[in-house]
């Protein structure tokens, strides 16, 4: 017996729209993502690090891969780390990435290694130096990163992914050493104010999910972003219709969505 038919319908709509936009992306007029200054600044940040001969600190978030809430942002953070690693490999900047939850570690190591291999710099990849697992506990983690920022004085700090409390303790020292800081968090909106007051560029909510697609211009990832936007539009239309139905005290839409 099938239950939650509404969820099945929405899932089918999502998959079909994704397939449609992948096909459309291969055509002459692929969809474009609007300009996101924070992501444009990633190249500038790495260039700054190369000029100043100081490292790039890239933190792909504090998310647990096995966690529903944090998984999408963690993936966005990994995509960003992949892009940043390619730039540091290409231009010879030093990369430091700190990992908080061990489940993220294999992903981060793999993505940085792949980036260095793609740039033909396999020999320059140093696993334990570039991707460092610190600890899962928040306070020792951000204390270590505070010390790392004070010692290494990164020229750029790119922090895109899932973040929780303790962001201030990393961003404020980064600001003190003159680091160009790019921060972004999607689901944990309580953290965004901390990024806004300490970072030079901020990615807010959905822009984090678009980071991978925007940076790599990969057609399949762009299709995913467009698909998400279109489905959001459908959700907004349903919301407006639902508001009208609720106003006239009609439960039809509510019952349909509960099926």
């Amino acid at each position: 017996m099938i239950e939650k038919i509404s969820v099945l319908v929405m899932l089918v709509v999502l998959v079909v729209s994704y397939a449609y936009f992948i096909q459309k992306g291969k055509g002459p007029n692929p969809a474009q993502i609007r300009r996101i200054p924070a992501l444009d600044a990633v190249d500038e940040a790495v260039a700054r690090a190369v000029e100043m001969e100081r490292p790039v600190l890239c933190i792909p978030g504090w998310g647990r891969i096995l966690d529903l809430e944090m998984f999408p942002e963690s993936m966005a953070g990994i995509s960003t780390l992949n892009y940043v690693a390619r730039l540091t490999a290409r231009y010879g900047a030093e990369l430091i990435s700190t990992i908080r939850f061990p489940a993220m570690l294999p992903y981060a190591e793999d993505t940085v290694e792949q980036a260095y291999i793609a740039e033909g710099k396999r020999d320059e990849f140093k696993r334990s130096e570039m991707v460092r697992y610190i600890t899962s506990d928040q306070v020792p983690y951000y204390t270590h990163v505070m010390g790392l920022v004070a010692r290494e004085r990164p020229a750029a700090s790119i922090m895109i992914g899932y973040f929780s409390g303790g962001v201030m303790q990393i961003c404020e020292p980064g600001r003190s050493v003159g680091s160009l800081q790019i921060g972004g968090c999607a689901s944990n909106v309580a953290i965004l104010p901390y990024f806004i007051i300490t970072c030079d560029y901020v990615l807010m909510s959905e822009e984090v999910y678009a980071a991978g697609a925007y940076l790599t211009k990969d057609p399949e990832m762009m299709a995913g972003t467009v698909c998400g936007d279109v489905n959001k539009l459908i959700a907004i239309i349903l919301l407006l219709i639902g508001t009208l139905f609720a106003y006239v005290r009609n439960d039809l839409l509510f019952e349909l969505l509960r099926m």
Binding site: L68, Q138, S164
Partner: protein, 282 residues
């Protein structure tokens, strides 16, 4: 130096001063707060009152899950919160199932358990309270705990078979319990997704103030029965339960601290406005 005199020099210094002076003044305010007590009444928030009313409304013998996902560094405030909840439950003859989804939890809950059993000598471990310890995996562990505890463990934190205990009679998983109080560093979404949404288990969420704001939509939608706003929730809870502790005591420090922040904002803006006007004048 800019060569400005009087107020101009002061504002110039304010704008560019070493931030360590700010930290020094914080210490001064903290010390002051231990000497001068601001006698303002604590007015409970509607969410705190609703939470307490809900616990009071549970029938005797109801099973309450006390789920914790906090860290050792916050135990100084989480312990009074834990003791309050345990005391409140025992006052109402409710049975408590303790579980942790963070690795730091078990030893802290063990400490709380030892203390509560000393305060309530008529309560028995295994009949009125049980401690399951820590399960890794966070939301995956919550899902398993809510569905069927057997998939996670057959014993409690101390190695006793939990199925043999009177407190777990008729309970296979969290879904069979009457309430879950989630004391956590994280957002409410996990507990709502794994307990409230699929099984309809009532949830009382107790997180940091900034995370608790994110739980408000769930509260208004009825998925969360009550919210405690972090440290303020602790002070309000202590005040309502007439068990004053560090919440009430250190709310005074919070008051002084907040006054300091307002003074800083005013001074910072005065310096900024002065700089803007001076810039225009030139």
């Amino acid at each position: 130096m800019s060569g400005k005199k009087g107020l101009g020099a002061f504002f110039d210094w304010l704008d560019k001063m070493d931030k360590r002076y700010l930290y020094l003044v914080v210490w001064f305010f903290v010390i002051l707060s231990n000497i001068v007590f601001l006698p303002f009444p604590i007015v409970p928030s509607p969410t705190t009152q609703t939470s307490i009313n809900y616990i009071n409304s549970l029938p005797e013998g109801s099973r309450v899950i006390y789920s914790c996902a906090f860290r050792i560094s916050s135990w100084w405030s989480d312990k009074p919160a834990t003791m309050l909840v345990l005391n409140h439950c025992f006052m109402n003859n409710l049975k408590v199932i303790m579980v942790s989804f963070e690795p730091d939890g078990p030893s802290m809950l063990d400490e709380a358990l030892t203390e509560i059993m000393e305060q309530w000598p008529d309560k028995k471990y295994g009949e009125d309270i049980i401690h399951f310890g820590f399960f890794p995996g966070f939301e995956a562990a919550m899902a398993a705990f809510a569905g069927d505890i057997n998939t996670l463990t057959t014993t409690d934190y101390y190695g006793n078979t939990w199925k043999d205990m009177p407190i777990m009679e008729g309970i296979n998983g969290g879904k069979d319990c009457q309430l879950i109080v989630d004391k956590t560093w994280w957002i409410a979404d996990y507990i709502v997704r794994q307990f409230a949404a699929p099984y309809g288990v009532p949830v009382i969420y107790w997180g940091g103030a900034s995370y608790a704001i994110r739980a408000l939509p769930y509260f208004s939608a009825g998925l969360v029965e009550g919210i405690f706003f972090g440290f303020y929730g602790l002070a309000e809870y202590e005040s309502i339960m007439k068990m004053p502790g560090i919440g009430v005591k250190y709310l005074n420090t919070v008051n002084w601290g907040f006054l300091y922040i307002v003074i800083l904002i005013v001074l910072g803006n005065l310096a900024y406005i002065h700089e803007k006007l001076a810039g225009r004048g030139e």
